[in-house]
Amino acid sequence: MKQIIEIIEAMGQSVIDSIEGIGRVTQLCAQTLAWLFRPPYRLRLLIQAMDFVGVGSLFIVVLTGLFTGAVFALQGAVAFRLFNAESLVGSTVALSLARELSPVLTGLMVTGRAGSGIATELGTMRVTEQIDALYTMAVNPVQYLIVPRFIAGLIMVPMLCALFTLVGMGGAYFVGVVLLHIDQGIFLSKVYWYVDPKDLTSGMIKACVFGGILTLVGCYKGFYASGGARGVGLATTQSVVVSSVLILVADYFLTAMMFE
């Protein structure tokens, strides 16, 4: 009987924990949104966060974009060659990059590099009680720590996404036109013909949402980290996993909303 009660207790506790988690996330989001518009505006902190999220991820995003475009063009050419339709390689790669690959892969790359960094940084501050210290100094940690990172994510991830698309197309062009000798005029005209401004803007909107998701998840996991160094490590891992999954899930719903 005691065991059954323990099991029920454990189940109930996990439900309570889950509901509590949702509540905390909602609270944090609400606080963040509220503090977005309340002074003092800490521009220096925002610039630093943008530097960390955007500039710091630039190299890895560009590198990923270049090879993604190149590989996609190579594989596309193999498939299209079966139908003598290699001219469609450019437009296929461009559409895929603009609509899906750029925002998703940029989101995942920034999650891996910056999201994890944010979780680690805030988790460390939490376990070393620096966040509590901020409270004692009458500085709101949400405003001081989370808002700049959130805004940086909203701004910089779309920027990285645009660069990802451009560099990816460069890689596809190199493989398609230079290496595989697809007619340059046809390659480019198909790209311009099939890709719409709407495709680019939808990619940017997605990237913006992903930027918000990955920074908020990183901040949340770090902000509520507990249990010393191990807890910080756990928070970091969880932030990467949760951000990645959320990005992919959100991508589905965004795509459904935008293109249906």
Partner: protein
């Protein structure tokens, strides 16, 4: 340091990304024409399978728009096209297949009649291609027909009974053939005999009929002769007995005379026939004029040769091209006009003869020197009078020209004096640079003329140049224009012109 660098780096990334985005946005916007220009028209299709939004709309293979929207209109499909070229009410649209992969596009024919189509109008004429599906349907019918034929065949010969019947038929045919063969073999000598007999009978019949025909002819001739003789005899008897009974002796004399005249006539006829035979013999042997005419092959050879030469001459004549040109030049210093009328006979592309009639404002200059010997002492005993007479008369040029590549050399009479000329043809002879040198003894220096002509249209050309380069007081610049017709044009003009009636 980091404080300064960090905003800079962030700014660089943001600006770079924005530039990249705006550039890409601009390029892909070029690909669609919906905001830039164009208007919407629609067409109703029975089937729009394979067409999609943004499918191409082309005229003569050139993109002039795209499909904007496809919607259901009752049991058909309304396709909205955004096009940026004017269409008329008679415009036609057709769905065409771009590749075997099933990619389709719309082919437009803009139409030349009717009101121009406005935004929202309908293209009323829709053409349908034979789609692979239609072909498959057609094939289905054919296959069904073939199937019905094979089924009926199967019914006839498919079962054991049919097979047995077929075998029986084949056996019967085989037996019949072998029997016929045997019968023919057995009766072959008899048949040969019968045929031989038939041949012999017909030969005999032929001989008999020929002989009979000959005999009959002879009998008839004899009978005629007998009748004629009888008539003569009866006439003579009548003459003797009836009219001059006393002059029976004279009657016999008359008969004798008639016979003599007949004999003489026969002798003459014999003679005539002999001569005729002799003439025929001579002709046959090739003697005499007529004999040679008939027997000598040289004559026909000569005639053939003559015909061939005439043919070549006619060919040369037809190959001969005639060019008639007229040109007027205005001399700037003299303020006078010089006119040319030229007929150019061109037997070959690289050779021509030019006959030119020139109306030169300088006229035709002749010199006359009169030497008078005087005996009066007070005067110079010799009076030398030189007259230069300039008359307003036409000058004549007769030249032979030969072309080497793009350079044509001319030699002959130029404006009544001996001279040389050269033409250089450039840009397919549209631009021609020419120079003449002539009138070597008319002035201190020979008269050289350098000019260029440029042909604008087929017949019209303009000219400009300098005349009399080396005689300073005579040097003059000129501009002009001319017309040039080939004999093709002249033929057209002459055949099209109304014939004069008197």
């Amino acid at each position: 340091m980091k404080e300064i660098v960090s905003p800079f780096r962030v700014g660089v990334v943001v600006i770079g990304a924005l530039v990249a985005f705006i550039w890409m946005f601009g390029r892909v916007k070029e690909g669609i024409s919906e905001d830039a220009a164009g208007y919407r028209v629609y067409a109703i299709f029975d089937d729009v399978g394979g067409l999609a939004e943004k499918s191409r709309v082309v005229i003569a293979g050139i993109n002039i728009g795209q499909i904007d929207d496809i919607e259901l209109a009752g049991d058909k499909a309304r396709v909205w096209l955004r096009v940026n070229t004017p269409l008329r009410a008679e415009a036609r649209v057709a769905k065409r297949q771009a590749s075997l992969l099933g990619e389709y596009y719309l082919q437009l024919t803009p139409g030349y009649k009717g009101e121009p189509l406005q935004d929202g109008d309908q293209i009323k004429f829709v053409d349908y291609d034979v789609a692979p599906a239609d072909l498959m349907n057609g094939m289905k019918d054919i296959v069904a027909n073939v199937q019905s034929i094979t089924a009926s065949l199967n019914r006839v010969v498919g079962d054991e009974q049919g097979e047995q019947k077929l075998t029986e038929i084949l056996t019967n045919i085989s037996e019949t053939v072998s029997e016929v063969n045997q019968a023919v073999k057995a009766n072959a000598p008899k048949v040969d005999l019968v045929v031989d007999n038939v041949v012999k009978v017909t030969d005999n019949a032929k001989l008999i009929t020929e002989e009979f025909r000959r005999d009959a002819r002879r009998v008839l001739a004899d009978a005629q002769q007998v009748a004629s003789d009888a008539r003569t005899v009866m006439a003579n008897v009548k003459a003797i007995v009836g009219e001059n009974r006393g002059k029976v002796g004279e009657g016999f004399d008359g008969v004798r005379g008639a016979v003599t005249r007949l004999q003489s006539a026969l002798e003459k006829l014999d003679d005539t026939l002999d001569r005729a035979r002799s003439i025929a013999k001579k002709i046959d042997e090739g003697k005499g004029t007529v004999g040679q005419l008939v027997n000598d092959d040289r004559l026909i050879d000569n005639v053939n040769e003559l015909v061939e030469e005439s043919g070549q001459f006619v060919k040369r004549l037809t190959r001969l091209q005639t060019i008639v040109a007229m040109r007027s030049e205005y001399y700037l210093s003299q303020t006078a006009v010089k006119n040319y009328l030229e007929v150019r006979l061109q037997p070959k592309p690289d050779k021509y003869y030019s006959i030119q009639l020139v109306d030169d404002p300088r006229g035709r200059t002749t010199f006359r020197e009169t030497v008078t010997n005087s005996s009066s002492s007070g005067e110079d005993p010799v009076v030398r009078e030189q007259q230069t007479i300039t008359e307003d008369r036409f000058r004549l040029s007769l030249q032979f020209a030969k072309r080497f590549y793009f350079v044509t050399g001319r030699i002959g009479l130029i404006e009544n004096t001996g001279g040389l000329g050269v033409d250089v043809g450039l840009f397919d002879d549209r631009l021609e640079l020419s120079s003449d040198i002539f009138a070597f003894d008319e002035n201190v220096n020979p008269r050289q003329r350098i000019w260029g002509t440029y042909t604008f249209f087929t017949h019209l050309y303009v000219a400009a140049g300098i005349d009399d380069v080396w005689n300073d007081e005579q040097t003059d610049f000129f501009v002009g224009a001319g017309l040039r017709f080939t004999d093709d044009d002249l033929k057209t003009i002459f055949t099209a012109a109304p014939a004069p009636s008197f």
